[in-house]
């Protein structure tokens, strides 16, 4: 059976000693940095990208994926123990997780979160295995016209489901496309927007942009508010959840997994939206909604399962169609390109070992997370006490070394500096940087497809609405924008994000 063959191919790669090692290292480093206050998964992955460039492509991607879900997991630990979400997708875990900890059920909350995440991660990975081949076959049928429209839809969907002003997010996309156009034009060899700098002939590097926007700018923002005294984590008494907690959790885990797997596939969805939606659903369905916010175990189980399922499922659009659905996936896409692997439908056929190896490693990685994290919890708690004033200089130093080491180029370090400045302006102006990064990654491919489509249609732009698949994709994009503009839904969206 093809399905089992694929898994076997993957396991062979993922279970090799070196890849097991990189998976473990990735999950450990991810968790370690995830529990450190003020460092989210995007900054973590951006900071560690350069290190992985020295590995084999498969090992690098396995390690990066491990870092991603490790950081995700570490964020939940801090949410439960000190009411401080490591990243936005564990904000809702704070609500009931921290209350459970204050009721002396910290251990149970951590175990439920870990087991829920493990289950959700396994299910979502299985979904990737099942749906990747048909989606890939579909994507292979796409010509340049369909591809261009698909990318338009991907970018639009990513901003529609994100927070904040739609208009600004669209402007950020356009700015990302403009930045992506910098460098030598592939077709004619002309220098574009290089400001006469020979260092820009190959375009702006992906790593300096990501680090500048997500690491450097974030540090300046965090320095605005003086650090309070570090909070004492709640003590852990006993790990094992009670029979009643188990009984309440498992349906919540199932629902959370379902919601996360579905929303994760959508562009712009991923972990954040999944956890919010799962919490809301759980509260609506509960017969005693008043328990929520006071330490309801379902309020931990559902969002934790959902954010892990969402995190895994967001790999589907990237691996099958080459469309990154959020900022972390854009970083993964960038990492693949650095290794000479163009994300998209051809990966599965041309490089099956890499494709299936990476996917099956997610199972192993999720299992490792549970095994390493519960016994090591005391170490993570100790790390929670590291003050930010010692952390940010270290982050800055690692970013500088990382960017410089890519090409031994001081120019790229200066680029990171410039994007740190721009990124801080974005934060102040309330502009989300993620759409910019998505557009920057997709931009050159969009231009390529646009050029080919226009060549085929002899310069007639109506080709995009005459081809049925392309028309459907564009209509869907228009529909999504209309949805956000409809006043009733806009209000609902604001409420959903505030809750």
């Amino acid at each position: 059976m093809e399905f089992l063959d694929n898994i076997a191919t993957g396991l062979e790669v993922a279970l090799s000693a070196s890849n097991l090692f990189y998976c473990l290292v990735g999950a450990l480093i991810g968790t370690l940095i995830g529990v450190l206050p003020g460092v989210g998964p995007i900054a973590t992955v951006a900071m560690l990208l350069p290190i992985t460039f020295y590995l084999e492509p498969v090992s690098a991607l396995i390690m990066l994926a491990g870092i991603y879900y490790g950081a995700q997991y570490g964020g939940s630990t801090t949410a439960i123990l000190i009411n401080l979400p490591g990243e936005s997708s564990s904000v809702v875990t704070c609500l009931d997780g921290y209350q459970m900890a204050r009721n002396g059920r910290a251990g149970a909350a951590l175990v439920i979160a870990a087991l829920g995440s493990l289950f959700a991660g396994c299910v979502a990975t299985l979904l990737i295995v099942v749906f990747a081949p048909p989606l890939t076959d579909l994507a292979l049928l796409f010509g340049p016209t369909e591809y261009f429209s698909l990318m338009v839809l991907g970018l639009i969907a990513a901003v529609v489901l994100a927070q904040g002003s739609l208009l600004k997010a669209l402007a950020m996309i356009v700015l990302g496309l403009l930045l992506g156009a910098i460098g030598t034009d592939v077709t004619t060899g002309a220098q574009r927007l290089t400001f006469g700098l020979s260092e820009l002939a190959d375009g702006i590097g992906f790593v300096p942009i990501a680090m500048g926007l997500f690491a450097v700018a974030e540090i300046v923002k965090n320095l605005e508010t003086p650090e309070g005294r570090t909070r004492r984590p709640e003590t852990i008494r006993g790990y094992w959840p009670t029979r009643d907690e188990f009984r309440r959790s498992w349906p919540a885990v199932l629902r959370g997994t379902g919601i996360g797997s579905f929303l994760g596939v959508l562009p712009g969805g991923g972990a954040l939206l999944s956890s919010f939606a799962a919490y809301t659903v759980e509260k609506r369905l509960s017969r005693e909604p008043e328990r929520f916010g006071r330490g309801a175990v379902e309020g931990v189980a559902a969002p934790e399962s959902a954010n892990n399922a969402g995190a895994q499922a967001s790999f589907i659009p990237l691996l099958t169609m080459g469309i990154p659905s959020n900022a972390v996936m854009a970083l993964m896409a960038g990492a693949m390109m650095v290794h000479g692997v163009q994300p998209g439908p051809q990966v599965m056929n041309s490089n099956p070992a890499l494709f299936w190896g990476m996917i099956t490693s997610m199972w192993i990685g999720n299992l490792m997370l549970v095994i390493i994290n519960l016994p090591l919890i005391q170490i993570w708690i100790a790390l929670l006490r590291v003050p930010y004033r010692l952390l940010y200089p270290a982050i800055l130093v690692f970013c500088c070394i990382g960017v410089y080491s890519l090409n031994n180029s001081t120019f790229e370090v200066f680029l990171m500096l410039v994007f740190g400045l721009i990124g801080y302006a974005f934060i102040k102006f309330e502009c989300e940087p993620a759409p910019l990064l998505l557009a920057f990654v997709l931009g050159p491919h969009m231009e390529e497809h646009l050029r080919r489509a226009m060549l085929l249609s002899r310069g007639d732009p109506s080709i995009f609405v005459r081809e049925p698949i392309s028309l459907a994709l564009l209509l869907l994009a228009a529909f999504l924008i209309a949805l956000v503009l409809a006043p009733s839904i806009r209000r609902g969206r604001e409420v959903a994000f505030r809750e």
Partner: protein, 154 residues
Amino acid sequence: MSVRQLIRTPDVGSGIMFIAFGLLGLSFSWDLPTGSAMSMGPGYLPQMVSGILLVFGLLVSAVGIARAREAVPITNWSWSALILILISVGAFAIAIEPLGLVVGIVLTTLIAIVAGRESRWGEALALAAGLAVFSVVLFAYALGLPMRIWPSFW
């Protein structure tokens, strides 16, 4: 609300920023051949995208002006932290090639610590030394990155 306050609101401020990037893009791609839709020249996409960005900048500003009543000007820019952090990154870039990794790390760490205004000097020096040792061992020896470690005149 005065014009000075207005340009400091997130909406109008970002609108002006988008307009500036759009104009920058247009001015630098102006001389590139545009070509036609069927065979696009190198200037086609940059000019189109810059133009769209300009339009979005105007729209964002217009919305910002229309909603000026409810907008709050940004006041809490932390200029000192921003400038010091940027200098600390710049210091690394300038120091790494002539002076090497160790000096670069120490400079970056110490300047960054001044930006935070919360650390004592003893702590700062210990952190700088620790980061330097750790990075040299990890990056230069374990990962074998080709970098200068000590100043060239040593």
